[in-house]
């Protein structure tokens, strides 16, 4: 019984992990290439979820809704980059923190004004509502499997973009050495805008797909943003590979920790103590993981910046 639960929780952790990766991928590129703190990335996750919900209602099709919402979120991201963030690249980190903090307040209030303060519920599309047997006799929700599938597909696509295309080469050059990318005669401004749009699309996609299994509400992107930070810190700023490994790691550790730590503590202490301490420790587990990684590797698991 426990083995099945573990399998199920592993899949849940995987699903959480690929979501985190979608968030962290864009963020780590923005940090790595532009050396910029962008707190508003979580807002794009939220905006993506809202836009997708609306488009799904208009078109009556979840897939169509997402297909329309991804480019729309990318456009929002590009607009934000062009209007506000572009002026911040040369500023110090403190300015970036404050201005993007202002953006969060603005976006949270914007969706509250446009869509109302109440949480929206969007349905899982009919064709993904059932369960699938991952191994015979073990059913698992089809929608969550779909999320894992889409997440892995995007990770693969991103890997191909970064490792095989000219844009990817420039991104890698930029992450390890910004001056060199400039010296290559690259249109840095355009590259930044495109990378930002790409990151926004990923963040939005994460929000859209999480929508049906949680709720779509103002501020929904903020906690996930901080988790994405943890992922980036563990993975190493600027490294897409690091973001992937760390996202899966964080997803698994968090999910499995929450599911099993209280039981685990029961082996050593009284049940009541275990039930109190277990959740407390579980809630801190990924931060402890982060601290441990930093202690041994201050630059993260896969440091991208070399000089």
């Amino acid at each position: 019984m426990d083995g099945l639960l573990l399998l199920e929780q592993t899949f849940n952790g995987l699903q959480f992990g690929v979501m985190l990766f979608l968030m962290a991928a864009g963020l780590t590129l923005v940090f790595g290439i532009m050396d910029m703190v962008n707190l508003a990335h979580g807002s794009l996750y939220m905006v993506g979820a809202y836009i997708a919900t609306t488009f799904t209602q208009w078109t009556g099709s979840f897939v169509l809704g997402i297909l329309l919402a991804v480019p729309a979120t990318a456009l929002v991201g590009i607009a934000v980059e062009v209007v506000v963030l572009r002026t911040l690249y040369d500023r110090d980190h403190l300015d970036q923190v404050l201005a993007t903090f202002g953006l969060i307040l603005f976006f949270n209030e914007l969706v509250r004004t446009v869509w109302g303060p109440a949480a929206l519920f969007s349905d899982i599309p009919a064709f993904l509502q059932g369960q699938v047997e991952i191994i015979p006799g073990v059913p698992y929700p089809a929608y969550r499997l779909a999320i894992i599938g889409v997440g892995l597909a995007v990770a693969l696509a991103l890997y191909l973009i970064v490792s095989r295309t000219r844009m990817g080469m420039l991104i890698r050059a930029g992450a390890s050495n910004r001056e060199m990318a400039g010296a290559l005669g690259v249109n840095i401004k355009l590259l930044f805008t495109l990378v930002f749009g790409l990151g926004a699309a990923f963040a939005g996609l994460a929000g859209m797909m999480t929508g049906p299994i949680t709720t779509v509400e103002p501020g929904m992107g903020d906690p996930i943003l901080i988790l994405a930070f943890v992922v980036i810190i563990i993975g190493g700023i600027g490294s897409v590979r690091g973001a992937f490994v760390a996202a899966i790691l964080v997803g698994l550790v968090d999910t499995i920790g929450r599911a099993f730590l209280p039981q685990f503590f029961r082996l050593f202490v009284a049940d009541s103590t275990a039930d109190a301490v277990g959740p407390a420790v579980a809630s801190m587990l990924i931060y402890i993981l982060m601290a441990a990684v930093l202690f041994f590797r201050p630059q993260g698991l896969f440091p991208a910046r070399t000089g």
């Binding site: 050396d35 923190v97 404050l98 201005a99 953006l103 004004t113 903020d222 407390a280 931060y287 982060m290």
Partner: protein, 324 residues
Amino acid sequence: MQALRQPRLLAQLILLLLLAAVPPVMTAIDEPFYTSLFTRIMIFAIAAASLDLILGYGGMVSFGHAAYIGVGAYTVGILSFYGVDNGFIQFPLAVLLSAVFAAVIGAICIRTSGVYFIMITLAFAQMLYFLGISLEEYGGDDGMPVYRSEFGGLLDLYDANHLYYLVFAVLAATLYFGHRLVNSRFGMVVRGMKSNSLRMRAVGYPVYWYRLTAYVISGTMCGVAGALFANWSEFVSPDIMHWVRSGDLIIMVIVGGMGTLFGPVLGATAFLLMEEYLPEILEGTAPGAGEHWHFVFGPILILIVLFAKGGIFGLFGGRERGDD
């Protein structure tokens, strides 16, 4: 130089005197609400001033200082929960615990710098926030009520004026200590590290330990603000550690003028007054607009960053640079 410094010193003294005069004036005009409001403002002024020690003077952008307000507040709250209301026990313990938390968290954060430092301080603050939520015994998400501290009959914190003057005294002590600190040998090292830490290392400073010490001092002072906050609100909940509160503290420092001692006081005043009255003002322009005040505040913040970095203090004769 002395002559140049006088007006600023005078302005600061006048501000302190004005703050000292709040309770009797408010009592006289029968507006006790303002005594409470200014108590809260001064509590956040203490927190903002302590953040400014490392942010403005030390160049360390800590995005997690609300965590120490939480540690201080929860120390008072949990002791109160177990019936320990003695302030002479609560406050020293709040100081000790926030120092310990700051030392442990700082020991890891200080190893990094730049973007990393910002994100890690934020992440650790979030850790304590979630820890607070998971503490079901102490109210979890909803928090728990707190009895105000007792000081053996010396002070009655349920008297709004007593509470006010306690907070006022702590604020004045914080500012005086801050003034001594930033001009001391240690303060010069902190400022030097902001300016050029590579050079500091080359002339022989073990930068890590000085950074860590500054961080611990700052976190501890924030913890005192937290202990006062628990008394003021008679309530603690994880919400005081929410990451937006950490952002608020940074805003107070920046809006007031960072790298100054009085800037954070002005910043806390401006910020909390704005929080209190901006919704009302907006409501006046269009019904229903009040609840969406962040809609206006967000862009205001961006504009301040882009165009007015000196802060309020900057309007009064620039930042304190060489001497203060």
